[in-house]
């Protein structure tokens, strides 16, 4: 781009850069220290055709610049003064030693340019410029590509020295930020074919950063795009509802419940009993227990979900893996704080009222059938009624909901069911279709008829249970568990008395523990493509414990790496 305003090169140009005779400069002012450039400044800082003079490719010898500007022109326009201020600050920056200068982090952040420059320095430390590239041989000889470009440009730009002076200074300041890299910049392929002087620096300035910026922005824009696409999905009301259901402990997909939900909107708040009811029923000390167990609940449901594909669940349930573990209903006519958790027996009764009357005490057998997770310690046998009296006071709230069948057994059963729900976070899940449930129950021969069984409170004993894989097992002998618990009770300073209720809870916890352990161990074994649980699996499991015990103050001396 030839500037028509620019006169031919001024005679003072060689004087400007004495160290580089080949490089021409039109600014004689710089050669003479103390000579102020200011007098002609009013036009000085004018963008426009001179804008190319701001290219960082322009270089002036540093020593000359130091004394160039001492006194700002009093007539200078604010723009000029601002330009001077910028120049001064940059000159101060120049005066600082090269290595101690603060590098601009912007480039490092935005472009991989530094890396490329380093790479170029390593790969081609002394590479010569390709003749066909943007810079002329003369500039290559000068050792500085930018200087060469500058020189060639200035051959065309010879309009006003003062203009150039200002622009050169600011140019120099612009260049200053990049000055560390500029001499090292490998320009083999970057100058886009502008062998002649003028457009060179333009293109150099414009083209060089642009690919980097766009390259840096590509990822960002893609990411932003992806995020902006994803965000609306998250606020999808359908999913939101689903998520709320999930956060409520995967409450129910049951149409029955949904009907209830339509009837009373605030059912969600009813899942957590208000404080008054809580205090009435469970006392203050137990208030925390539902929370703790709801955490376990989420864990269990997660596990159940992961395991759901293995067949045990789906086979017996005859329903999807997302079936609710709760059977929470809000009785019609009650306020929303009243809710009841329907036992499997109740589900069954709702399905078949006639059969329910005859088999109202079937919860035990039914639960045993449905108990793939051995969680229903109560319901496995009549043993559940051991603690019937203990749960009697919990039944007050439930009794309101028990409008269908109010015999004592059912209340006790429901009470214990609710207790176990609170305890475990899930009840033995009833089949949604009660017909298939009863059929499966009959098929497995676990159907029991006697109601009178539930009357007697028998001792806790090792009972047969069925794991989720359909394998029968017996829980640990309660005597052994009791002995163990007594041992620890004594070591912790308490008396060695273990109440039946406590023993029951311990047995329940033991069952859960072994179930969890079995899941984990089988997961490890399967991951190792083994069908046998090995000692290594156990060791892996126990190593996994370490992280939580590391932060346990009681085991604070455990300093194993995670």
């Amino acid at each position: 781009m030839a500037d028509p305003n620019n006169p031919p090169p001024s005679p003072s140009r060689p004087a400007r850069t004495p160290s580089k005779p080949s490089s021409s400069s039109q600014i004689p002012v710089r050669t003479t220290p103390g000579l102020s450039v200011v007098p002609a400044l009013p036009r000085a800082y004018t963008p426009g055709p001179n804008a190319r003079a701001y290219t960082p490719g322009a270089r002036t010898p540093r020593g000359l610049l130091l004394s160039a500007h001492n006194t700002p022109n009093p007539n200078a326009t604010p723009h000029v003064r601002a330009a001077y201020r910028a120049i001064d600050s940059r000159r101060a920056a120049i005066l600082t030693p090269h290595h101690a200068r603060r590098r601009s982090l912007r480039e490092a952040r935005e472009t991989p340019r530094n890396f490329l420059l380093q790479l170029g320095k390593v790969l081609a430390p002394k590479s010569e410029r390709i003749p066909s590239s943007s810079s002329s041989p003369a500039s290559a000889l000068s050792g500085s590509a930018a200087a060469g470009g500058r020189q060639e440009q200035e051959e065309g730009d010879t309009s006003e020295e003062l203009t150039f002076d200002i622009s050169t200074r600011s140019r120099y300041g612009d260049e200053d930020e990049e000055e560390e890299e500029l001499p090292k910049r490998p320009r083999l392929s970057l100058g886009l074919g502008a062998g002649d002087g003028e457009g060179d620096d333009w293109e150099d300035d414009d083209e060089l950063p642009q690919p980097h910026r766009s390259a840096g922005l590509e990822d960002l824009t893609e990411n932003f795009t992806v995020q902006s696409i994803e965000l609306p999905r998250r606020v999808d009301p359908e999913k939101d509802q689903q998520r709320m259901r999930d956060s409520m402990g995967r409450l129910s997909d049951f149409p029955q419940l949904q009907q209830q939900q339509q009837q009373s909107d605030g059912i969600d708040s009813g899942f957590f009993p208000p404080a008054a009811i809580d205090e009435d029923d469970f006392g203050n000390a137990e208030d925390r227990i539902p929370d703790e167990f709801s955490r376990l609940d989420s864990d269990e449901t997660r596990r159940r979900e992961t395991i759901g594909g293995e067949g045990g669940m789906g086979l017996l349930l005859g329903a999807g893996g997302r079936d609710s573990d709760f059977h929470i209903e809000v009785p019609v006519g009650m306020d929303e704080s009243t809710f009841m958790i329907a036992s499997p027996t109740r589900q069954f009764e709702m399905g078949q009222a006639a059969e329910a009357a005859a088999t109202s005490g079937q919860g035990g057998g039914f639960a045993e059938l449905m108990d793939q997770r051995s969680d229903s310690y109560d319901n496995n046998d009549d043993d559940g009624n051991d603690v019937g009296p203990a749960y009697d006071d919990y039944d007050n709230d439930n009794g309101m909901g028990m409008d269908l069948d109010n015999n004592q057994d059912d209340q006790v059963q429901a009470g214990s069911d609710e207790e176990m729900t609170r305890l475990s976070g899930y009840t033995p899940t009833a089949a949604r279709v009660s017909l298939s449930a009863s059929a499966a129950r009959e098929k497995l021969g676990l159907f029991r008829e006697e109601d009178g069984e539930r009357g007697g409170f028998s001792k806790i004993k090792a009972t047969k249970k069925i794991s989720k894989h359909g394998i029968e097992y017996t829980s640990l002998p309660p005597a052994m568990v009791k002995r163990l618990a007594q041992t620890f009770a004594k070591t912790s300073g308490a008396k060695g008395n273990i109440s039946p209720e406590a023993l029951k809870a311990i047995m329940q916890a033991s069952d859960w523990f072994f179930e969890q352990l079995g899941d984990d161990l089988s997961a490890y074994a399967k991951h190792a493509h083994r069908k046998t649980i090995d000692m290594s699996d156990m060791l892996t499991l126990m190593k996994r414990y370490v992280w939580c015990f590391c932060f346990d103050p009681w085991v604070s001396d455990c300093l194993y790496p995670v």
């Binding site: 000390a285 137990e286 227990i289 703790e292 167990f293 955490r295 376990l296 864990d299 293995e310 203990a390 090792a462 069925i466 794991s467 989720k468 894989h469 394998i471 029968e472 097992y473 017996t474 640990l476 002998p477 052994m480 163990l484 618990a485 620890f488 070591t491 912790s492 300073g493 308490a494 008396k495 008395n497 273990i498 109440s499 209720e501 809870a505 329940q508 916890a509 859960w512 523990f513 072994f514 969890q516 352990l517 079995g518 899941d519 984990d520 161990l521 089988s522 490890y524 399967k526 083994r530 046998t532 649980i533 000692m535 156990m538 060791l539 126990m542 996994r544 414990y545 015990f549 009681w554």
Partner: protein, 73 residues
């Protein structure tokens, strides 16, 4: 008592086998029992830390969730 078994090995093995649906190799049940004892100990410690005195049903229920979560692999 010298003749008393510390724990029913076969039962422990059966329990784990039923839950894991995998065979259990030799001597793993010892480790499992050890783990179980460890769980009991942790639960006791946790209950005591939580201000419970003695082992009651309530205290056991209170610490069950946390302790089980701790022992999750």
């Amino acid at each position: 008592m010298p003749g008393q078994k510390a724990y029913p090995r076969a039962t422990v093995k059966k329990i784990v086998k039923a839950h894991a649906n995998c065979n259990v190799s030799k001597n793993v049940d010892v480790m499992i029992y050890l783990d179980y004892v460890f769980l009991m100990k942790e639960a006791t410690i946790e209950a005591k830390q939580g201000g419970e005195r003695g082992i009651t049903g309530r205290s056991v229920k209170k610490v069950t969730a946390d302790t089980l979560a701790k022992f999750k692999g």
